[in-house]
């Protein structure tokens, strides 16, 4: 019985089959490379048994192109499905090299099966080995696809990470660039204010110096002028009380003159007392005017000092050389930053607990940037009128700056991630920046071999601590 015969190798099986086919009147055919064997989508009535050479299968894709699917070698059956089922061919097959094939038609096959058990056995063996080959290939392909999918997935994740990194870097660069531009603008404005301010200061000095010489030595005018120059400022409350007293003392005086007199000390009032008693109000008004010139000059000097201090702070806050490391006093950084942020900080009760700190080798511009960021965050988080504390301290090896607010604190789970860019606890979107402040601040701290950490204070509020090594 054919069943009991041992399986033959493919080559042997093909040789046997060629001999059997001869009995059916079929000879192997030689086809030159390029000969089409099967046309995709057409009915096929032949089974090709590949004896020598290589055939190639194509499958058309939805765009009409032909995609190479597989190479087939000796022992392969071509057209097996279309031949067997009568369905149109599923793929296109072309001779890739010169081929030797055995072509069997339906009729040959039926005759072979009917007459020759050996023919049946050989074709069956070929069918099975072809099918199992194809099956193995499908499994292999699936594995390959899975591997490729995994690789793609990994590549996609890596790409996404890279894009996120790039975006973050870009945002940080934009932010840094903005700060740099702002610094330049500030420095430019400070410089522009500086010149007229210096002129103003010189003129004020001159007027303050020369003014007393206009009056006779020891005259009431001269005394009133210098009293005016050193008169203390009265709060609204104090000035109201004082006005009340004066109105009692000199009932004939109008409110307006009373207000003007209210800033005078007793000594100056004594100077005016004779005129007041005699009702020489014109003289009183004129001499009060001289007192007020003194007050005004003093006011101008104070205002001018304020402008100069502001300009100095803005310059040292934003100057170019700040980008380089130098020996720095942290207290100066803090004071400069406080001046620059005064417009925001004046709404808060600011508590300074500044220890005596040793000088530190660092880049003041960047430390200013950190402190500015911590302070603006504290303002954003805290209701106006509440307290913001700035505390400094030092050990043998470290100096530290702490900024503590009385705001809503930081949710415990965000205490660390708040330093990542784009993590923000601030609501209200448009009012706020890119959520980069703390990320950049921490980076700047690390650049100085320092640390920037956050914690919550018992009783509410956040505490940010910047620690820098003394080296």
């Amino acid at each position: 019985m054919p069943d009991e015969l041992p399986d033959l190798t493919t080559t042997e099986a093909l040789e046997h089959l060629v001999r059997r086919a001869r009995g059916l009147g079929r000879e192997p055919e030689h086809l030159p490379a390029g000969t089409p064997l099967l046309h995709e989508g057409r009915i096929n009535r032949s089974l090709y048994i590949l004896l020598e050479g290589t055939a190639r299968q194509y499958k058309s894709d939805f765009r009409g192109g032909a995609i190479p699917v597989d190479f087939l070698g000796p022992g392969s059956l071509l057209g097996i499905l279309s031949f067997w089922t009568g369905q149109p061919a599923f793929t296109e097959s072309v001779a890739y090299t010169d081929l030797t094939v055995l072509r069997l038609d339906r009729d040959d096959f039926d005759r072979g099966v009917a007459r020759d058990p050996e023919f049946t056995r050989l074709t069956q063996q070929l069918f099975v080995s072809n099918l199992s080959d194809r099956y193995r290939r499908v499994v292999g392909l699936n594995l390959e696809v899975a591997g490729l999918t995994r690789e793609l997935e990994q590549e996609r994740n890596a790409l996404q990470d890279a894009i996120a990194d790039l975006r973050e870097t870009r945002n940080q660069l934009i932010h840094q660039e903005k700060l740099a531009v702002m610094g330049q603008l500030l420095a430019g404005i400070a410089h522009e204010i500086n010149n007229p301010s210096a002129a103003l200061m010189k003129s004020l000095e001159l007027v303050t110096r020369e003014m007393p010489n206009l009056f006779e030595e020891g005259s009431p005018e001269q005394r009133l002028f210098s009293a005016g120059f050193s008169a203390p400022y009265l709060s609204s409350e104090e000035s109201r009380e004082r006005m009340g007293e004066l109105q009692q003392r000199y009932p004939a005086l109008g409110r307006s003159l009373c207000r003007r007199l209210s800033r005078m000390n007793e000594e100056s009032l004594n100077v005016l007392d004779p005129d007041l008693r005699k009702g020489k109000l014109e003289t009183v008004a004129r001499r009060t005017g001289i007192f007020e010139i003194g007050t005004a000059l003093h006011g101008m000097t104070v205002a001018e000092e304020r402008i100069r201090r502001l300009v100095r702070s803005v310059k040292s806050y934003s100057r170019e050389e700040n980008q380089e490391s130098c020996s720095t006093h942290l207290e100066e950084c803090i004071r400069d930053t406080l001046t620059v942020l005064n417009h925001r900080l004046k709404h808060y009760n600011l508590r300074l607990e500044l220890a005596d700190l040793p000088a530190l080798h660092c880049c003041p511009g960047e430390i200013n940037q950190i402190i500015t960021n911590l302070l603006t965050n504290a303002c954003d988080a805290t209701e106006p009128g509440r307290t913001i504390t700035i505390r400094t301290g030092a050990s043998e090896e470290w100096v530290r700056v702490e900024v503590q607010d009385e705001g809503h604190g930081i949710p415990e789970e965000l205490l660390e991630s708040i330093f990542e860019s784009t993590v923000t606890t601030k609501s209200g979107g448009a009012d706020f920046g890119l959520g980069l402040g703390l990320a950049i601040s921490r980076e700047l701290a690390q650049k100085h071999q320092g640390t920037l950490t956050a914690s919550n204070v018992p009783g509410g509020g956040a505490l940010f601590r910047l620690e820098l090594p003394l080296w």
């Binding site: 609204s236 409350e237 409110r255 006011g299 417009h343 709404h347 808060y348």
Partner: protein, 165 residues
């Protein structure tokens, strides 16, 4: 005797408050000037005026101040029957659009003066607003005429004589 009408000036910067008072000093003998260094102090002052039964014709108020800001104070006053009619002037260097819109819509802001202001601009504004206050209250303008803007004083007088007819 004619009713006392005060003017209240609020600013946290003593220098600015000084300048404001100096500019308005010529009004003081007719319209007592009150000053406050913060919104809280202004509220105390309002309480005192309420107790004394003194009217408040005009409030000139800064916006950005420590503690309560100026616009909130003006909005609160607009909601208080006694101060609703007071003419409200915002004198500020840095009120944002939102605060300004709020002041106009919710506090019925009468005038907005940006710091720094032109010489005597504030005086003119306050005089005009005093006239409007007197007209709104239907008070006899005669005792105050000297301090009102000339055109306005004439209009007020005409209005008075029309009413008498």
């Amino acid at each position: 005797m004619s009713e006392t009408i005060s003017i209240l000036c609020v600013d946290d910067e003593p220098d600015v408050l000084d300048v404001v008072v100096r500019e308005l000093a010529s009004l003081e003998d007719t319209f007592p000037l009150e000053t406050a260094g913060s919104a809280a102090e202004a509220r105390e002052c309002l309480d005192r005026l309420r107790r004394d039964g003194t009217g408040l014709g005009v409030i000139v108020c800064d916006h950005i101040m420590p503690g309560e800001n100026g616009v909130d104070l003006l909005v609160a006053m607009a909601g208080d029957e006694q101060w609703r009619i007071t003419r409200k002037v915002l004198l500020t260097g840095q009120a944002g659009l939102e605060a300004t819109v709020r002041a106009i819509n919710r506090a019925e802001l009468a005038h907005y003066i940006a710091k720094p202001w032109e010489n005597r601009e504030l005086l003119h504004v306050v005089r005009r607003q005093l006239g409007l206050y007197i007209a709104a209250r239907g008070l006899d303008p005669l005792p105050y005429l000297r301090h009102l803007e000339p055109g306005q004083a004439a209009a007020l007088l005409r209005h008075m004589s029309d009413a008498d007819r």
